[in-house]
Structure formats: structure tokens, C-alpha cells
Symmetry: C2
Subunit: 227 residues, 2 copies
Amino acid sequence: MASSARILPHRPRKGDLTRQSILERASALASQVGLAGVTIGRLAEEMGLSKSGLFAHFRSKEALQEQVLLFASHRFIEAVARPAISAPRGEPRVRALFESWLHWARTGTARAGCVFVAASTEFDDQPGAVRDTLVRLQRDWLEFIAQAYRLAQAEGHFQAGDAEQFAQDVHGTMLAYHHASRLLGDPRAEQRARAAFEALLIAARGAGRATTAGSRKRRPGKEKARG
Amino acid sequence: MASSARILPHRPRKGDLTRQSILERASALASQVGLAGVTIGRLAEEMGLSKSGLFAHFRSKEALQEQVLLFASHRFIEAVARPAISAPRGEPRVRALFESWLHWARTGTARAGCVFVAASTEFDDQPGAVRDTLVRLQRDWLEFIAQAYRLAQAEGHFQAGDAEQFAQDVHGTMLAYHHASRLLGDPRAEQRARAAFEALLIAARGAGRATTAGSRKRRPGKEKARG
């Protein structure tokens, strides 16, 4: 599977525990203050380390921020992509991908705010190595979703459609969920994200109409226009 | 229309031009560096004004950031909500809302990055007055979309469904468009956003199946699994 081969190898090297623990703290800091707020000075202060010690590890703020992205990406892949790949190819894998993504957003390091969501708006107009790394990681992830979709087509589970469209749609579902749950504290955010995803699956199967806008639980005749 | 009445009155007072021009610059700054980066000191520096002068206007960083949100909200409402309200109620209004939103994202002040998208991740875990204002504005906007949906139900254009689900889905479509166009520079981002929106409309009408994942332009028999 080309895309999984592309996104899976970002494992940190072994025997590199100090660097690991620094990146762990830097990643937590990025979840709180955004990736742009992760500087060598601030991280040194947070960890009670000398700036010169951190410079020896990372050499520049940009290199530190890039490493934080790669570290967070590794975590994301382990938590979301790997479980998906363990599921049978086809619709079960697409579904596993979405489930593990939701689970990660609710319970993982993303609970404190997704580094990628924040970095995407922080760096979208800041050219440079950090943005390049972010773009590469985000493109790889969307391609991973698209590839899972194509496999489901090959398995005969999905009839037709554009895999990149599906990837952008599922991504939108997750971004809206992130916004509604984290910023707005909406208790129905997850239920709606699931309904939106089911509608995408139904459209992909080409069987029946989409059930988004909550029509899964609609009761004909009980609808009222509230406007 | 309850929700439009709620979101429309944020007009700046007249005779307040200095404050207006300061907020204009502050808003532009927020588009570049995020709302959290808009401080009285930084703004004074950008505008060649004294910090004490700006303090006289805004008293605190938080008050400044709140005013920037209200200013940006006013612009957004003028550019997106007002044209929608000029369209006939029902599906035409829902469509006008989406069209003016896309237009605003492509060409308006949002071209430099949407203040609301950035602030949503900057402030989602920072309790306080700025976050409260942001949450109120974002809830009002989602309610505006939901209300347009309910009117379309009342007009008989949409058959069934949950208006809040529709609002979250359209918001996700816009967030994914923002990400794909601004960060990834994907030339097909807008085409996909439109396809996703059409699929939501079709589902809302309850007529036929959703056309998301690009099935608007699919040619049966020409689909190939690329996986």
C-alpha cells in the first residue's frame, strides 16, 4: 500500500530518549500555545533546561518546530493509521480509520488541541521549512484516506466517486467536529460527525440517498419547520 | 428572522473613524499573525502610534482582541449574511449564503487567512472574554445557517433533516476548503467544496442520493480502482 508505506516510517530512532522526552514536552506545549509558540527559549524555561543544551539538540526554532510536527505525526500514525491498516481493506478499513481518528481526537494528545489543526492556520502564510513539512504531512494523510477509499472501490464496497473528494469531505467532517466540540462545547458534535460520515459512506456505496442532516433518525410526519 | 436580527446589529458606531481605522489595521494584523498576536504594543508599533494612545482606545489587550472580533464579524456579516438575506427564502437563500461565503473566502479580507478560523484554535482552551465573544459569534453564525435551512423546510424546498446537522456539515465543507486551498494550495479545493455542498442540498431535498465524492461528473463504466 503505497500511501501507508509513505506515512508509516516516521518512527523516532531508539536510544534517543532525551530527545524523545524533550519532544514530548514540546508537543504538549504546542497543543496548548500552538506550534508557533514553541521556541527554544520557552521550551528551555518550561523544562528547566539551559537554552544552550536545547540548541545542541535542535540548532534552530524552525528545526525544533519541524521535529515537533514529525513527533506528533508519529503519534497520530500509531494511533490512527495503524489500527486502520489492521482492519480488513475496503469499507471496514475506511470505517476503522474514522473511528480511530475520532477516538484520538477525544482522548489522545489531541485532547489538548490538535497540533496540526492549529499549525495549519498558523503556518498557512508563513513560507519555510516548517510549513513545507506540515504540507507534506497533511498531504500524506489526505492521500492515506483517499487510498483507503480506492481500496474499497477495488473490493467492490464503494461503487464510484472521487477518492480525493472523499478525503476532503472526511477531513471537513473532522474539522467541524473539532470546532464544535472544542470551541463551542457542543454535546452533539460527535453524533453529527458520525451522521455526516455515514452519509459519505452511503454516497460512496451508491446505495440509497445520503442521510446527512440527521435523517437517520428522522420520523416522517414529525418534522416541523421551526423558522 | 430571529437569527439574522441577532447577528446583524454589530455595526460600528458612526463618528468613530479613528477607532475604525485602528481596527482595520488590527484586523489585517490578526489575519497575518493570528488574533493572539494582536497586542497593543505590536499594533502601536505597526501603526507608528504611541502605546498610551492605543490604551486610551482599548484599555487592555483582551478588549482590543474582542473589538477586532466584532469588527471582523461586522465585515463578514456585510459580505456574507446580508447578500443571503437579499435572496428569496428557501433553497435560494441557502445557496446564496454558501456562494457569498466562498466569494468572501477567496477575495475578501479572509484571503489573508480567516481571523475566525485562526482564533478558533488559538482560543479554544483559553477561557476569558475573548473566547466568550468568539464562541457567541460562531454560535450565532451556525444558528444563522440552521435558520436558513429551517426556512427552506418551511418553504417546502427541503423535506426533512436536522438544521444543526446541516450547519455543522456546511461549516466542515468550508473549513476543509480553507485548509485545502490555503495550506495545501490545491487547485481543486473549490470544485470539491461545491460538490460537497451540492450533495448536502440533494440530501436536504430528499430527492435522489448524494453526489459527493465527485459523482456529479462520474461516468459509469469509466471508474477504475487505483489502489
